[in-house]
Symmetry: C2
Subunit: 401 residues, 2 copies
Amino acid sequence: MQTFGELSPPARLILTPGPSSLDSRVLRALGTPIVGHMDPWFIEMIGEVQAMLRQVFQTENRVTLPLSASGSGGIETAVVNALEPGEEAIVCVNGTFSERMAIVASRMYGVTIHRVEAPLGRTVDPDDVRRAAKGRKIKFVGVCQGETSTGVVTKLDGFRKVADEIGALLIVDAVASLAGVPLDVDRQRIDVCFSGSQKAISAPPGMAPITVGQNFEQMLRDRKTPVQSWYFDLKMVMDFWGKDRAYHHTPPISLIFGMREALRILCEEGLENSWHRHRQNQLALIAGIEALGLEPFVPDPEDRLPTVTSVRIPEGKGDGRIRMQLLEEFGIEIAGGIGPLKGKIWRIGLMGHTSQAKYVLMFLAAFEKVLLDHEIHFTPGAGVGAAERVYAESAAVEHRK
Amino acid sequence: MQTFGELSPPARLILTPGPSSLDSRVLRALGTPIVGHMDPWFIEMIGEVQAMLRQVFQTENRVTLPLSASGSGGIETAVVNALEPGEEAIVCVNGTFSERMAIVASRMYGVTIHRVEAPLGRTVDPDDVRRAAKGRKIKFVGVCQGETSTGVVTKLDGFRKVADEIGALLIVDAVASLAGVPLDVDRQRIDVCFSGSQKAISAPPGMAPITVGQNFEQMLRDRKTPVQSWYFDLKMVMDFWGKDRAYHHTPPISLIFGMREALRILCEEGLENSWHRHRQNQLALIAGIEALGLEPFVPDPEDRLPTVTSVRIPEGKGDGRIRMQLLEEFGIEIAGGIGPLKGKIWRIGLMGHTSQAKYVLMFLAAFEKVLLDHEIHFTPGAGVGAAERVYAESAAVEHRK
C-alpha cells in the first residue's frame, strides 16, 4: 500500500480568525493517552470541563457543554433545536457568519427566516428588528456578537430588549468573541449562546461550547415535533453531559483533554484579564497598522472586535502574494477577506494564546518588511514604533493605578 | 475563578468496542503544533489522508474524506444526503447501531423508513429485504456490516444483489468493521460507506471517514430539495475536501494529524494483514473465553465480528462489579451490553492497535483472576492456556507455509 512520510508541519504563528496557535500545555494534553468515554474517571473529568465552561460563559445553566462539532455545528444545534415547522425567526445579518445562521435555519422544513441586515463593517440596529417583527410571531432573534468576516462586535443588550418586547428567545453566536469580549450569559439573559473551541479559548478546533437557559430547556420539553437532527438533538446530547452520563455518541476524547487544559489556562488568568488583554493588544495592532498608512475596515472604533482586526488592502496591491510572503518568509499566517470582501481586506486574529504583545510586535515587524517589498510606502519602523508607544502608555497607566 | 488540577488520566488498556487505545505515534501526532486549515501545507497534506482512506476503503471514489463528527455523524450524513421528502428506504436492524440508522432517518421530514429485523446475535436475511421492498420505490437499503452492540458481522453481497433488483442504493455502516474485516467498496459496489476514526483504524475519536460512489454523487446533483443539514451537506463538505479546497467549516486539525498517523501505520501493515490479525486474535480470545466455561453470545462462528466479541454473563453474576474490578485492579476497560442486552453480555473490543496477542493474553489473565474472585469456577490458567494454543497452532501453520 502507498504510504506517506513523517508528519512534519512547518512552524507557524497562526494569526487568523481561528484557529489560533496553541499553548504547549494544550498540545501536551492533546497527546495524552486516552481513556474510554464511559470510564468513571472521564465521567468525573468532563464535569470539570463543564464547570469551567460555565465560568467562561458566566452562567449557572445546567445545560453547558462542548458539542462534538465545529462552531458551525453550534449554529446548526441552536437553530434546529429552537424551531419547529411553521415557525418564524429573525436573524441579524452583517457578514458571512451571521448570514450563516440564516442559511442554516432556512434549510429546515417549513420555517420562515427574516433577515435584518446592516452594511458590512457595521452593526444591525435593534430598531430594525423591532420593525421586522411587527405583526409576526417570532420564535427567536439571532445575533452574532463577533462577526469574524468583518471584525465587528455587536452590543447585545438592545437585542435582548427587543426580544423581550416581541416575546422571542435570544440566540447569540459568540464563536469569535467568547473569552475575548465581555459576555455574561446570565446577566444578559441569553437563551442560547455557543462558541468555537479554536478561537479565544485557544483549544484545538473541533468542538463548539454551548449553553442553554431554562426557558429554552422548557421549550425543548414542550416541542411537538422531534428535532430534525439526531446528532445535534440537545436533549439527547444532554443525556451524556447531564447527570445520567448516558451514552449518546462517542465524544472526541483528545479534544476534550485539550479543551480542559485551555480552560485551565484561561481560568488561571481570569476572564476580565483576558478581555483586557485582547483589547490592549488590538489597540496596539491598530495603532501599528494606522502608522503604516493602512485603514481599518471597521470605521467606528467602538465596533471593532478585539479578537479580529480587519484592514483595507491598498488599491492595486496583491492580497495573495503579500499573505504568501508573510507565510513563507516569516511563518506567519493571516487571513484574507471572504465572500464580498475577498481581495478587499486582510483579517488579523489575536485570539487567546496569540493575543500577546510579543506576537503583535513580531507581526508588525514582518508585515512592514513584506509591505515595503510590495512598494507600500511608510517610514520603516513606524508600525512597530506606534505599537510600542501604546504598550508603554498602557504600562504607565497600569503603573499609576 | 475556580480551576482544577493537572490533567492526569489513569493508565488504561481500552478493550471496548471503541475507542481503542492509541499507538504512541498517533499520540505524538495529536500533540504536534497545528497549522491553519487554509495553509498550503495543510491543503496538500489532507490529500494524503484522502489517498490513504481510499486504500483502506478499497475505492477510487473522488468523494472520500473524514467528516468532522463521530461515527453517528456518519450515519446522519449518509441518510440526510440520500433522502428527500416523500421518499422511502429500508434499514436492516439487528442491534442498536443498525437501528440508529433507522432512527436518524425517521427524524427527517416526510420520509418513510421500513425496518427489516433479525433477532439479536443474528444477521438480517436479504430475502426479507426483497419481500419488504415489494410494490414500493425504495431509495436505499441500509446495512450495518459490524453491529457493535451484539458483535455480529454481516455479509454484504446478498444486499447488493437485492438492492440491484429493486433499483436502490446501498448504504453500508462500516463504523466497527473498516480495517478489521474484509471490505471492498468498489468491487462490492457500495454507494455510501462510512466508518468511525476510533475503531479498527485506531485514530482518535471525533471523525467519521466516508466514501461516496458516482451514482450517489449524481443523485446529489439531481436533488430537488436542499439537504436538511448544512453541517452534513456532502456537496458543501466536498467544497473543502475536493479540488477547490474552499472553506466550509474549520476541521479538527489535530484529529486529522492523528488520523494521518494511524492510517500510515495501517498502510505499513497492509490491509489484508490487518484483517488476518483481527481474525486470529479474536479466535484466540474466543478459545480462551470458552475454556473458562463462558459462552459467546453470537451462536454462529461465521457471524462473529472480529473486532468485537460478545460473551454471555453467567446467570446471577454482577456485570458492573466484575467490570469495575477489571478497571480498578488491572486498568482494563471492557464494555457491558446496551439496550435490551444491558446486564446480559460483556463486549470485548480488539480493534486496531489493541488487536494484539499480548493484550489478549493480558486480558485473559486479568479476567481469570476477577472471575475467580466472583466465584465463577474453572481450572486456573485454562483461558490463557487455550489462547496460547491457538497462537502456537497458527504459528505452526504460518511456519509450514
